[in-house]
Symmetry: C2
Subunit: 538 residues, 2 copies
């Protein structure tokens, strides 16, 4: 019987809090560096030698994972239990890449087959675009594919597209160039549209509800621009939406591919939300390999032992850092330029999922939940915010990611080493420096160390590895959400802003009152202060 | 007489800590929304109606600013005092945009004239590139300008170039397209080079010392690629460096423009580091306007009264949030797509400057210094990490930035309002929602509010406004550094990683021992784990 209870009700958490804090400087031996590794999916490996844990802490983290029944809850989720409690929904993004247990049947439909059929439909569409059977209204083959979406319809697909853009060139799978328009600021869409030839551009409009304000405003912009140069917008746009949306089966789109309420935006890269653009740009086989990598990592995550389950280990180390050590932020540092926007995806994934203050049953919590997540690629970050990470007054635990080979085949040797060797050297050097520090007579040049990290490393980054990385962090967030007894799958915190923005928009566009004296006062002050300054100074 | 002492030695800080925390819900009245504004430079305005302060707290923050002699210290710095104590250097980035006090003479040289002369030299060079008098080795006019640099030689110039790319098109000043290569990962440079025509590409190599590992590796890559297509690299690269660097006056460069040790990387956008590429891409007059905007904000920052000095107010509110309220992170949220990389610049500026644990005299501190800084443009962030900001267990104070007009002139109306009106509506709605929250019977749909913010707003974003924004945050960081009695101008925390990376690189490239058993063990484990997995699974 599965039991849902708070972290503060767990005996194992009480025991965990009684453990002594470790000192990395003493703990990290050559033997630990050689052995504190766990094989991951897609030939990745996970290293936790620099995590702030010892055997006893790992044992108690295992007890906590067991007491909170993390694997049982994961199985429930995978088999269609209503884990998104607030919204009364199943959570099925795993199923988009493969089944992990019993079939999930909903209203007589096998959901695995639903996702697979949609996938096969967009694979076929993608092939037709790629070989020129589907052409633009100017009768040209499409050369650009532009996703219009925001949040989860943008961040994950964008991070994945960037991650594979070089790889796809080398493998000769890059056919259409992917672009993204997300912000309601017209300077986003207008700029992208100024850089592409509209007569050979296909747009993928992504909105589950078909009512997302930003996405519809950008669609309007695109349609006007297409019309202005004599093109037929209906022949340039494909929709990704739910079956009940106004975009579904609408003759104003080339086609529509379906998603549903059981895959949340930030978990949707594995669905048509990410699949359509990746299949069109880099080929269905590339997206299929991404799904295989993710499914492999999903399967590995069912393993109950921390020491054989890298994502469970990673999740529990994060809980220890957050709830015992009390650290409020964590940084993601990919030593791989193709992952330049992966931290932005993880920021949404983690902060939108676990930035919650009430339990899944709606009770206020007495403990901290999701941390602030940020990051930039290495070595760039070394020349930016690493100063604070090394010598600041707060400790920020670090998640390194790295690969031993680059994607584009060329590399230059300078001063006896390749650029890639320089990159990997920097990665290992930073892990050492953060953990072990360095004494110095001059306190300004001393490094306290004791700043922990973990590492996900592979030989090279291709679609299978990328799929495994997406799965890793989705499942980490899920396990942490279970540990905190929260619902990681809703986002009620975005609603109030939408309601107030609607009121404000009425007031701004019509010059009316919003019905809220304070909102009216703020709007008036914003316009008054910018106008007054304008008059005075020009 | 100026006195340097710790925050914990300030009587005014003791008084400040005794103030009661305010409750924004009650404090924010229409009158406060109308009046808690301060005019800024370049027709910007600063609103602090949603800051977590009341009249008494502002009064005590003023006392703290006075006791720590912030304006006096700023004047000292501007007039050439050795404020970078650890490195024994002056701090002169303000002087690159104009003089704020007595002339700064160093070794008989008026430093204002030094910076101005270099500026006039690169203005002339830029004009020659722009009108085709300086041409590529294929005798073509240059159409692309690619900056090779990392850290401060990348983040600020990149953020500024992006911020003005649309504006420069509309104003017909966009002549060459700017690009950036920074990461030592060859997938960065190779990808940029694959997207441009080398025969019409000019490179700006930026390294103060002329020895930055990443930058030299990327230069090597660029030179090889140029040679491979029959071009003469010496006719395609210009250097920005110090006079003592190996790049200075070197015949292998078209020209060299000089910077010096008195302008730190993260403060260097106003120097040749940002000026060369911006002048070439968008014209010297555009860079000159940027400098004017920054100088205007620098001048305003000399005002001793918080209520008339927006940057001093902003800095002191940040100190209150960090040292009295105890908040460890802050988010920067520009509601302007052109500022998409401005948060990454601020992340370096703030975290590298103030992520310190010792005083300017080298004594350990008993209080917190610089926070974690992160951010993404709105409305995109609303669909990402705002969930945690609204309903997470921690409070993150917010810095909003917004403009009432877009840069590209066009905007679409949909459903009775323009995209820009939608953007501004979202901005004001979020400020209200964060501060005031909303009660709800369902705790999952309740918003606690009490989440403070400040706003920098203007009519439109051009070079003068951008210069003022750069200055605002540089001076904010400086004032906070003075308050904490730290040296905001060195970065000793990046040194250890460099030393260890050199050792690691020797070991990796030659197969030797690094001389450190733990580093050797880590390197061996990284290669062993990736190779072993490779063999097993393929």
């Amino acid at each position: 019987m599965v039991n849902f209870k708070g972290l503060d009700a767990c005996d194992s958490f009480t025991s965990l809090k009684k453990t002594s804090r470790i000192r990395l400087h003493d703990l990290v031996t050559p033997a630990r560096l050689a052995n504190w590794w766990i094989p991951h999916a897609a030939e990745l490996s996970y290293c936790y030698a620099f995590a702030p844990v010892d055997d006893l802490i790992v044992e108690r983290l295992q007890a906590l994972a067991d007491e909170q029944q993390l694997i049982e809850k994961y199985r429930m989720l995978a088999e269609g239990a209503i884990m998104n409690t607030g919204e009364g929904r199943m959570v099925l993004h795993h199923l988009a890449r493969g089944r992990l247990g019993a079939p999930v049947i909903w209203k007589g439909q096998d959901m695995e087959i639903f996702y697979r059929d949609e996938k096969l439909r967009f694979y076929e569409f993608a092939e037709k675009v790629r070989d020129g059977r589907i052409r633009s209204s100017a009768d040209k083959p499409f050369a650009q594919v532009v996703q219009i979406g925001i949040g989860g319809s943008d961040l994950g697909p964008r991070a994945a597209s960037l991650a594979l853009s070089r790889w796809a060139i080398v493998k000769e799978r890059a056919k259409l160039t992917p672009w993204f328009i997300s912000n309601v600021d017209p300077d986003d869409g207008d700029y992208v549209l100024s850089r592409i030839d509209l007569s050979e551009s296909l747009f993928v409009l992504v909105s589950k509800s078909g009512t997302t304000q930003e996405t519809l405003a950008n669609e309007m912009l695109v349609r006007e621009r297409l019309k202005a140069v004599g093109l037929n917008p209906d022949k340039h746009i494909v929709a990704v939406t739910s079956k009940s949306s106004p975009l579904a089966g609408n003759p104003h789109y080339l086609d529509s591919f379906f998603i549903d309420d059981f895959i949340g935006g930030r978990y949707s890269t594995s669905s048509a939300v990410g699949g359509v653009i990746i299949s069109i740009a880099y080929g269905p086989e590339t997206f299929e390999e991404f799904l295989q990598g993710a499914h492999g990592a999903d399967t590995l995550a069912l393993e109950p032992s921390l020491k054989h389950n890298p994502v469970l280990m990673d999740a529990m180390i994060g809980v220890y850092e957050r709830n015992v050590l009390g650290w409020p932020a964590t940084a993601v540092l990919p030593y791989a330029e193709p992952l330049s926007r992966f931290p932005a995806h993880l920021q949404q994934l983690d902060m939108e999922s676990n930035g919650k203050s009430v339990s899944r049953a709606g009770q206020p919590l007495s403990y901290s939940t999701g941390p602030v997540v940020f990051g930039e690629p290495g070595t760039n970050g070394q020349h930016s915010f690493y100063q604070l990470l090394h010598q600041g007054t707060d400790i920020v635990p670090l998640q390194f990611i790295g690969f031993l080979k680059n994607q584009l085949s060329s590399d230059m040797s300078s001063e006896g080493s390749s650029s890639r060797q320089k990159l990997v050297s920097n990665l290992v050097a930073q892990m050492m420096a953060f953990a072990l520090g360095k004494e110095d007579e001059n306190p300004n040049k001393a490094f306290p160390g004791g700043r922990p990290s973990t590492l996900l490393v592979g030989e090279e980054l291709g679609p299978r590895q990328l799929g495994a990385l997406f799965s890793h962090f989705e499942n980490k967030v899920m396990f942490q959400g279970f540990t905190w007894n929260i619902n990681s799958f809703d986002q009620e915190g975005v609603q109030l802003g939408k309601v107030l923005a609607k009121k404000a928009l009425g007031a701004i566009s019509k010059g009316d009152s919003s019905g809220d004296v304070r909102l009216d006062a703020l709007i008036a002050a914003v316009y008054e202060n910018t106008r007054r300054r304008d008059r005075a100074d020009r």
